[in-house]
Symmetry: C2
Subunit: 478 residues, 2 copies
Amino acid sequence: MKTAITPTRSENFSEWYQNLIAAADLAENAPVRGCMTIKPYGWAIWELMRDTLDKRIKKCGVQNAQFPLLIPINFFNREAEHVAGFAKEAAVVTHYRLKMIDGTLQPDPDAKLTEPYVIRPTSETIIGEAMSRWVQSYRDLPMKLNQWVNVMRWEMRPRLFLRTSEFYWQEGHNVFATHEEANADARKMHRVYGDYMREMLAIPSIMGEKTPEERFAGADHTYTLEHIMQDGRALQAGTSHDLGQHFAKSFGIQYLGPDGALKHAWTTSWGVTTRMMGSVFMTHSDDDGLVLPPAIAPYQVVIIPITREDTADALNAFAQKLGEQLENIDVRVLVDTSDMRAPDKMWKWIKRGVPLRAEIGAREMDENNITVTRRDLGKSSRQTMTIDAFVADVKNMLAQIQHDMYDAVVRRNETMIHNVADLSALESALANGKIGFFRIKYDLTTNEKFDALMEKYKISRRCLDDNDPTYVYVAKSY
Amino acid sequence: MKTAITPTRSENFSEWYQNLIAAADLAENAPVRGCMTIKPYGWAIWELMRDTLDKRIKKCGVQNAQFPLLIPINFFNREAEHVAGFAKEAAVVTHYRLKMIDGTLQPDPDAKLTEPYVIRPTSETIIGEAMSRWVQSYRDLPMKLNQWVNVMRWEMRPRLFLRTSEFYWQEGHNVFATHEEANADARKMHRVYGDYMREMLAIPSIMGEKTPEERFAGADHTYTLEHIMQDGRALQAGTSHDLGQHFAKSFGIQYLGPDGALKHAWTTSWGVTTRMMGSVFMTHSDDDGLVLPPAIAPYQVVIIPITREDTADALNAFAQKLGEQLENIDVRVLVDTSDMRAPDKMWKWIKRGVPLRAEIGAREMDENNITVTRRDLGKSSRQTMTIDAFVADVKNMLAQIQHDMYDAVVRRNETMIHNVADLSALESALANGKIGFFRIKYDLTTNEKFDALMEKYKISRRCLDDNDPTYVYVAKSY
């Protein structure tokens, strides 16, 4: 069977993904090493993901602010684990002027910075410095801040959305008076992400704590959300960190307690990135292209008038009017009156993953009917209904798609999580090409034999099982 | 009379501005040369400004996208005027790794980029390169793109919001088939900004074309919006550029016409920045602090319960309930139930410019009354009214404030625009300390005598008079 995307997922998942991104016009590699340009359709999805998550974050009492892009090296260097974790991928600003020298535009040697700056890979340090001034007394706590920004981590093997040198994210940074509150907050934001991903992205998360080996550089506890891709590999979709007093001590974030004693505070940080888009695309899409959950689809419905030359004007006008009706009930709709051929339009919007496609021809217009197809189910869901019924039911249909897409992933994931009794069982599963997450006793993964398996099969510890943290999930990952 | 901000505007406008920003908790200087940290209250204002402008931009058929932060030097260098305009303030990335050398964290000499990158000061070049691939045929035109991003122009004399090395903006980049369309678009976006500033920011703009001396580096025409500050100085609040074919030719943005001929396209770019916030703050504020137009005020109403110990709980609950009532009719409201003293609360929100302050004591609660004061008018507007009347009327009151604030600036500006017949008249006005905009024949400002005046009085040409472009406005500027 001919598919819109070649190769198919089963033929070559990695190439399929690249071609999916191109076919849906989401993004492209930028002419800057490791960076991407996010095209309008891709960015529209991100805006919906961002704005809906932003509301949930603000409901937690978090306020947005904006901290500088550049971080002085000495800030970066104050927390030892942190700098060790990020120094190897830091983009460094060393000059503040260009000059034409011998016909070539170059950094001006007379404009060298005495102290270079790093483009933020994350902002614990620069926000920690600010908090050391902003937090004075217990009355200032908790202080909860967030920013939506670009960050940069130099990337040698970039892949669109999954791993790019520059990416976009929100980073939340909260301060508390006690460790108990901080840890509870790190866990709470972890749940906020889990709820968001389930309800908006239609993706179930494996949620648990990272093992010490996989923690964020400078954290006491890292809570992660791991998604299972269709090829069985893990995608880390978000993390929330209990930073203990690492940054509070490095930056002197102290508060005067009600008892008059000066104490170090406790901080958390938590973030999700444009990588989450990669998870949405890889989790839901099929061999015909993107499949978007209605909650984050820039167009939830596309109306395609099947025009003949003599009926085009009347039909386009009719479709426009229907579009307005849907807009009035807050459905995001596109009426495609472009001069492409109808089948080309159809495939364009299939590849872009619009949840509902509504086609209308001259005869249907006369009969007040419309033919509707669900993107997630394809042809089998094709049905002709009256326009009144469609308008009355469209919101339910979208909610049903959102619900069914989530369910489908849950069912698929069930087939991708395997219990393994010991390292030999793990090895034989991997050797047999079994894909997915393997659940194994954590202590079995802290020896040389496991290290050899990690090396050989490119697997890693994803997270501890929240229900029984003596078990850990291991998988190949993106 | 004691004022909340000292010095007052008339005593020292520049210091007043710094203290205003601090008192309203809007932003602070960052520990990064020339950069600012925008604090939550400041960023909440920007979010409202951004989101409301974004809607207007999208209504023009513009789509948001996201282009890389870094620009390869050779891109930057392709348009001669452009590089000349920006090379002197470019932040340059030269390394992609840090290394500990002799106990000091430094750029790793083994990780030097063969071609350095510039942090975008503006994105005509990198977007031009993308457009050269995205635009193929006349069917792709017009193409209208925008991005909301941070940019960097190294700044030696920074001032919060007005002039910072890193700032935040939107930059729109449109491509057209003909010069006529491109020029009409540059003028249209200029008007979109003018309408937005009038309706949302309550600020009238002097709108006109920049003289050749003041054009954007690489533009054929630059249309500007100039605001008159309370000290008579000009603030350039936004610009829209007709770029002719400068970038189309440098980057090869070409399209195949319906006639099969390959032609260079015509481009525009247009932007407004966080500098606009500086204009809002300097235009409307007074010696007691910020005065915000309701349309962009994070809180349009603050409710202050005047509690005594025995009535605090009941009164706070009553105030909360009123707050919810206002929220339900889409008024942005804060109920200040913090444990500060009532006068301290009152001054806090005066300094932060909340448009309407509603105070309620135990007796008023019993009588179902509330006492309301407009921030823009102060004490003279103080009135006690029934709570029902307040709820019924609050939206009208906010609209009236928005309207009156605009009118007040229009009236003040009328006193600040002066016609001068010749350079002697200009010089004597300046020598006498007259402040504001001076309207003079443009050709009078293209000689050495005018250059000497520019130097001596730090004035510059702001823009041509749209009604009669043989005249130019000159003023001191921020």
